[in-house]
Symmetry: D3
């Protein structure tokens, strides 16, 4: 799909076909064997890789995923997508993506550390502050970045800038946690403004209360928006007068489930997407709106905040420590 | 086939299955985009790659091919094969293989130089005297190695040892040209010795008069063997009394075709493999002996000297400058 | 002249004669042979050089010129001048200068690219962000800097800071284009202020409408100055009421010649320097005011904006892309 | 003269004029300022340089001279000459030459050490085992090479191969001392052989008893040649029966002057070159044979062993420690 | 004492004993032999060292001392202290300390320069902008840092950030001179604020008028505090109405002794610490207040500004150029 | 003792006292903290160190010991001893020694591997083929060297020459195993030759049958010497007709104890050193001959082959894999 979109753009721009081909071929792809001793003393080999798509505009940038079915073609496409994303956002970076074919959930913390360090040893000469800067992605987090930073520094000296998404104590950026949700709020604000409306005074229904959905809800609430219905796997709730989002956050952070929140009534999950409201924000799985339920949607505006069909909150921009994917 | 053979060997050795898996996964694979200006000013992009299979026994070693249909799986297999070859030969090297997807015949010498230099710029950090040492292979030759050596030296200082198969004037090894043919002669000598025979006093039929066949013929002739029939695309000839191989070499080096050689009579090409003789040496295409013609073969011994089904003389051990594949 | 001025300064400062000698000897001079294939396939060799005068105050800084008659002594003098310029301006840099002996106008764009890349390969170890930072100069421009940046980055990783004067898209500084003209305007403003006057309310005659003159004219116009006469090779014009400089810029940018501009009347070129005005700004060739015409000059103030006898606008501070010197 | 000879050779070889030009331009020339504190505490600045002519055949090779009137053009010529010398001798090296403009005799040992170390600091990145390997030359010796080796090693690790001509205890080659004299003996032997003669049975007159002459005399003596006359600044002597060269060496090594040697009679210096003999070997100043004395020369063969008009024994091949030039 | 304090903190934090042990062991200690020629031509060898305690939070930071009795255990403790200081101050640095066992007062400036340069050559690979950044300390000053910076730059390129405390002309920080005194003033201000008081309106007695005491006095004076008594080795003075500190500074900078200052009356040194006042600031030797004089102290507040028993003003934070310790 | 011996030598050589002092101070000493996770998941910190005594004659050379009571002073002495040993043996190396304070017997193989790799990471910049080359020593073996080689190669490329004593399959030297015993045999041969005797025809008593003693016995047997008595902890045996050493080796290699060997009779261990013989070779503990037993020794010659009081066969020259010290 990425290539199809690119080809369409190339046609619209009247790009020379050779230049088009050249832009499609990645700058560099690397696969490395990562062999580690497991905790039980046996050896295990994993394949790690990094696709570096383009560095014409600056050092390449993109996530590192740990996933058993990392698909090379998909990763190629995502690396390319990073090139277009950094270019469209006009930041001086290129695009890359990488990962290791493994089930992070089946590896102990100590095995994950060893695997990450071996992977870093194998690619340390090909990444770097001025070359290619990894970030957390599906199945990795700020701890993974800390290991990469530490291992890379053994070879190149103290180099915190070799990764983004590292722990704040090691120089990570404040605000990364909320960034995707904040982007969703800004997109909502911009869309409404085009129609002479604002967040304050509108009503919102949000599907998903993970990293994206909870921050979107909170920031929309801060701007005066009324979140009237909200749901995730732990429950679906509504409150016509507007849910008290900070209270809900507190409830959830204390381990509570949505369905047990006192400030709202439980509703049927199947009614969430078709609930009456001004703005509907699907922030969980992608592909939830389809031919069948589309006619019943009553929202006036829809903001697509779930960008990945299988693991919607896990892309480089939204994944964060503590979301439980690694453990 | 390489992997199947390896797995069989692993079973016989009683290798642990994890170690077996680890030995099958290449140490490192790299793909790079090589964009060059063509002579007409347009841009062209090619994909170059290098598979480094194993370096446990020393720096990796293997050819660089230029071929339009370089198949990644085949190259992976060939890189692995190099690991086993260097190990079996007990030389302190590992295995690798690489190439560029291009038609060397469609590129000018100047385009080939630019392409080789760009490819070298892209992989220079991953090869080296102590890391991985390329060699000529299908579609490349000593000139290609000279370009790699020169470009590599811009980054790492005068480094003749970064490639083998370079021109003799730049430090290449004497005898490389004849090496495969000489190996064929040694194998023949060893086989005959086991049966109480020797080259001197035996008769030989040779298919192919390229790098392998012509050197095999010449060295067998020197050892007193009688080459009684011989053929390539320029003709098939025989002489019961034994062909004067040095004279034939001179004839061919002056541009003559086999069928025009005065010291032998022309025969039908189809009869070559089934010609009466002590030893038959197929030195051209692989797979020439099959179910159909096998029953008619009259030779007492067969030495397999054609190791590749599609381009038999072109592997790293036999390819040499001037064999016309590049031009 | 540079050395004479320096010696005079040294005397005034009471510098030890050994220290004086040491300050005159350049830190390092390098000459390299640059051989490239020309578009017609023949080889051509050029001599490139770099004089690094002094790095006591920081990385050295200075232009790269492409000119057939680059004179080593002159370049030495200019490198030294850069040391004094950076010191007087109190920026933490030293002084350098370099170039290639070639006629950029006789080389195709592709030949210029090859030449620049070979030159960069030959000196890459001696320049660098913390060592010596080239800039455009006579016969070179932001494209030349982009090539140096790209070639240098092959050796040292993404290094935009190795050159200044690169294209803005690659990290070049905004405002570089107008910098010299803006400096002329500031000098004018300062001079007038000393005499209780200001740009607003004064009349100006400007010789030259290239990079320096046109920006000086525009900025003086913005400050309320009245440009009453102006000339370059495409015509000499005047307008007592003040020329509409933005309109003239538009006219010129659309390819128009000065003599065809509607908002002014054509005058004789020879009268420009002796035209009645408050301030005369020679912004074209140096040495235009001499014993013969000096007595006739009627301007009350003269700002010297042409600093080079043969190619006045071409020094490192003023040269910019598109000024036609390369093509 | 070097260039003239080269051009003549180029004509004979039918070299393309562009290639000829390219071969004349040095690969790289570098000049550096070397400032040291003198023993009296004042500063002194010297200009050091290195001309690297050509590295196509291997690392460049050539001497480092310390001389007050080091002439850049002469050094360029000598660097070029080294390229042709290594090529003709078929050793895998290119050509270079360098030096410092100073009077080694006016500097203390400690000042010479400081100067050599500063010079090495300034050029260490441009020389090296695989790049350019200095050697002793006029005004430098094995001690100078030891300083270069030590200083270079601070930057690049223990690197004895960065210089030749170092002290034997630090890895210098045995036999270097006698090498030029031995070459003279071999040339003499080869010349005589062409005429059916041999050293044994011939008579010799030798001018000069320094490094070249004394070793030539000794080796000719060993081969059975009869040295019948011999001279240097300390005297001119003859002995029809043949001078006992080992005894003369002993005499001289004990500080004796030639004129005081008991095994020969003193003769007039002016008669040496015109003395009756089979072979005349001028091993002192160049240019001693000229239009005026040529008609009187009675030798049947002349071997030119003095290759430098002003300091004949001091080139890279002959200079050695202890010959008193530095002290 | 440092370790004891650390162990107490570890106990309070409930640190695992293995982690506690690991935090006590320095990351790296290095000792190097530094041999220099002395001015009289003889050789002298000194032992230089660097203890790098911990880099978990960033590049290590700490002074370089030149002192004849540098005690390894004390230096280890001080390096550890730097780790805790940078952590408590929440700056992203670790801790280190080093020095050379020598009497700086017995070495000439030229010997000190040679010694510093040799020491730098020996440790240059272990320090660096991203690794470990020295600073002046006892017996060293900004000139020492300039030598380290210059020598280090020979190996790693222009690197002003490899040291702090360098001369301002070479990039040193403004305000370093006054930093310790300013810290004393801030501490005083904070302490008084806790008791509802302020500097303005309080009276002060200051022991010591070196780098710490004079700046503390000046800054307290600026804030409106009344310095009523003050002493150093050149005299002890008092003025009930408040000493005019700027005038006293001028007096001292012109070489005057405290006892000769006209704006105060001389008093007995032994009475200084027990003088009536609101705040007493011992800014000279440590340990001046003890069991014997403590009962007599009349100050309501005491600010400890003397942190070192033998050389109180000489730690990394306070030492500055020109304080005469080296000369 | 080493320093005392050195001082005595210095006096005999008339060394300048400053040079003497300079020769005693090590070139460089380094201590590093090595923290590893133990198999049970807890952290453990060890102190590793390396003393590099002198590199004037070439790269430094010396063992790495793993021992709980590694004593810095002893290691300093041993490093110095290596300098004198390499100098006396006239090999172009300097001297070094190092180790880690740990009980190798208390660490699992996997913990030893992690510890060795961390230690190598901490010192990799300070050792190297041209700088300092470790070797096995007490508590380390060829496996330890293989780990160092592998870890070092991650930083510097395939570098087998960074250690000696590595496994033969990775490039270790043949004959290392027997080297010390062979040296003992050569020393014996030389001693006897001085007295007009030879190994053949002499009788030998050997204490110790470990690496040194068993090889000495075998090589003496090969030279025709008669080993008439022999002992280690597993028994003491004698045979007037000469023990069949190859048979004894076979017996021992099959796990047999000396006392169970059929080709000799068991004797009392206390009589071994005072047994009648031509040559006595103590090859076990040092210090076994003392005031008390010396008068009773009947051997005519004694060869000291036990050089270390506590662990006689464990020095760098004799230690080998499989001697059971690690396991």
């Amino acid at each position: 799909a990425t290539s199809r979109n690119f080809r369409q753009a190339a046609r619209l721009l009247g790009l020379d076909s050779k230049l088009e081909k050249s832009l499609l071929i990645p700058f560099r792809e690397i696969k490395v064997e990562c062999t580690i001793p497991k905790d039980d003393g046996t050896l295990a080999s994993f394949v790690g890789f990094r696709v570096q798509h383009d560095n014409a505009r600056g050092p390449m940038k993109g996530g590192i995923r740990y996933h058993p079915e990392v698909d090379p073609d998909e990763v190629n496409a995502l690396a390319q997508l990073m090139t277009w994303k950094t270019a469209v956002a006009a930041v001086p970076y290129g695009g890359a993506k990488g990962g290791i074919g493994c089930s992070p959930g089946d590896l102990s913390r100590s095995e994950l550390e060893r695997l990450t360090r071996v992977f870093t040893q194998k690619i340390h000469d090909l990444i770097g502050t001025h070359t290619d800067i990894p970030a957390p992605d599906m199945g990795t987090n700020s701890q993974t970045m800390a290991w990469i930073f530490d291992e890379y520094s053994k070879f190149h000296g103290h180099s915190p800038a070799v990764v983004t998404g590292k722990p704040i104590d090691l120089g990570g950026s404040l605000g990364r946690d909320a960034a995707t949700g904040r982007g969703v709020m800004y997109a909502t604000e911009a869309l409404l403004a085009e129609y002479g409306k604002s967040i304050s005074g509108s009503t919102f229904v949000i599907q998903g209360f993970g990293n994206v959905g909870s921050w979107a809800a909170q920031l929309i609430h801060e701007k005066g928006g009324k979140v009237i219905a909200l749901g995730d796997v732990s429950g679906t709730i509504r409150n016509k007068a507007g849910i008290d989002v900070p209270a809900l956050m507190k409830h959830r952070n204390e381990g509570g489930q949505l369905k047990d929140f006192h400030g709202a009534e439980v509703m049927d999950a199947s009614e969430l997407l078709v609930h009456e409201c001004d703005v509907l924000l699907p922030c969980a799985l992608g592909g939830v709106l389809n031919r069948e339920n589309a006619p019943d949607v009553k929202a006036k505006f829809i903001i697509e905040a779930a960008n990945h069909p299988t693991d919607p909150e896990a892309d480089e921009d939204s994944y964060q420590e503590g979301s439980g994917r690694v453990a």
